[in-house]
């Protein structure tokens, strides 16, 4: 890790993105005091996790990227053990989450699939009375239905005033729940900020189908606005910065074009350029 800065606003849901091997899990372990940073300053909930690890982790719910539980214990026993180790528990919330996640806690962990082990960790994390949730790719292995439930749990946690740091590869998920994101690559900060601001800087994609024969004319007028236009068969496709979108749409409406679509930049477009494969 080098030249890296991550700050999470209390009570917000913060996305933490980056390609494999970028240093997401390493960062998270430093935040939990599992790794000691050789340089730099780390403060979690106002404290240094390397020196006052216990007082920090007592207030954190952590879901590791690779959830390993004790194979010969039942799901309920694992939940009991984790709550016992923490010394604080909200049984009502735990029971509600177990029901919602449709988790059979009587079965032994060894019979659980990856998704079920993930659910045990998520139930323990969300039900624990903590201020900060650190989730390291928590939805890997969950089915789409459970992913929806997970997103709801994250929103509920944020609504309850808890802070969530969500490391993820699923861009749709980050887009759906996060207010701000930090992108990391090769241990360095690439981009950070509020999602709305980042989107604002990115281009929207606009497609339209001008009246037949007018595609060339329309594209000529669009180029006059300063945007690059592609012509595909009888339709035009272009990528315009936010500031130019009204003007572009005005030109298309004037030309009586059909099927006009305007798609704001997706998180995926923002990130794709950072996700250039680099062997790590």
């Amino acid at each position: 890790m080098d030249a890296f800065d991550l700050s999470v606003v209390p009570g917000s849901v913060h996305g933490f993105l980056g390609p494999n091997g970028a240093g997401k899990s390493t960062t998270i372990r430093v935040l939990l005091g599992l790794y000691r940073a050789s340089a730099g300053r780390v403060r979690v909930l106002g404290r240094d996790p390397a020196r006052r690890g216990v007082s920090v982790t007592k207030r954190i719910s952590y879901v590791p990227g690779e959830v390993t539980l004790w194979p010969n214990l039942s799901g309920q026993e694992v939940l009991d053990a984790l709550a016992g180790l923490r010394g604080a528990r909200n049984i009502a919330a735990e029971q509600r989450l177990v029901d919602e996640f449709a988790l059979d806690t009587r079965r032994r962990v060894r019979t659980y699939s990856k998704g079920n082990r993930q659910k045990v960790a998520l139930v323990a994390a969300f039900s624990a009375p903590t201020d900060l949730l650190v989730l390291d790719e928590p939805t890997s292995g969950l089915d789409p239905l459970m992913e929806d439930l997970f997103q709801r749990c994250v929103r509920d946690a944020a609504a309850a005033g808890r802070t969530v740091l969500l490391s993820s590869h699923v861009l749709g998920e980050v887009e759906a729940v996060c207010e701000a994101v930090t992108i990391i690559k090769d241990g360095r900060l690439v981009e950070a900020g509020r999602l709305a601001d980042m989107r604002h800087l990115a281009s929207s994609t606009i497609t339209a189908r001008p009246i037949s024969g007018q595609a060339a004319l329309v594209s000529e007028r669009l180029r006059g606005l300063g945007v690059a236009v592609e012509i595909e068969a009888d339709s035009v496709r272009l990528s315009a910065p936010r500031t130019l979108v009204p003007a572009v749409l005005g030109v298309l409406a004037e030309a009586d074009a059909d099927d006009i679509t305007c798609t704001p930049a997706k998180l995926e477009d923002l990130f794709r350029r950072h996700y250039v494969a680099a062997a790590r």
Binding site: K58, W70, L85, V134
Partner: protein, 229 residues
Amino acid sequence: MILVRLLIRRHRAMLGVWLLVLAGLCGGTVSSYQNTYATQQQRRTAVALAQDNRATTLLYGRLPDPGTAAQMFAWELGAILTVLTAVMAVLVAVAVTRAAEDDGTVELVRGCGVAPRRPLHSALVLLAGLALVLGVACGGAVGLGGCPGGTQRCGLRAQRRSPGRWREMPVNGWPTPALQRPRHSVRANTRRCCSIHGVTRMANGREPSDSSTTTSTSSSPILARRTPS
């Protein structure tokens, strides 16, 4: 304490099997020596065989005279038990420390507000407890397993209480060997044969003399035990 309980819960099968096997070995051996070498002459032959055998001396040390069942037990099983206990200690120590770190359960535990050193402390507490339980179990097993056949100590006590009855009472068809041995301290015997590991013994220059061995053909006391002359 929760972490120690969790470790026990996690590894109860392994811990249970080790304790059972080691305590079982202790419990079964004394009486099996007593039954195998029922008469003094049988035992003398076996002792002579074992004392003249360099291989067994290297492995277990020299079997001291007079070679009572208790001495044989401490001589042979003492070494085997030491090795097995060491193997158990290594396997259990790895399972409760490195293996837990490796599979990620320590990370999960540390994420629950557990101090960095507590997983290691708990592992040490478990190992210390295991050693204690193993010691008690082996001691108990020797006491229980030895008594019916009449270990020296039990035999002597019984003899002091009611010598007449014990002298007449054969166990498994054999007279109790403890009653036939000279009456000197069992403790001293045990102490002597507890420090008889081959290397120290041979380093002290007290390896068995190479005098003409007329009976020694078998290299193992176990083999010798099966064919008492």
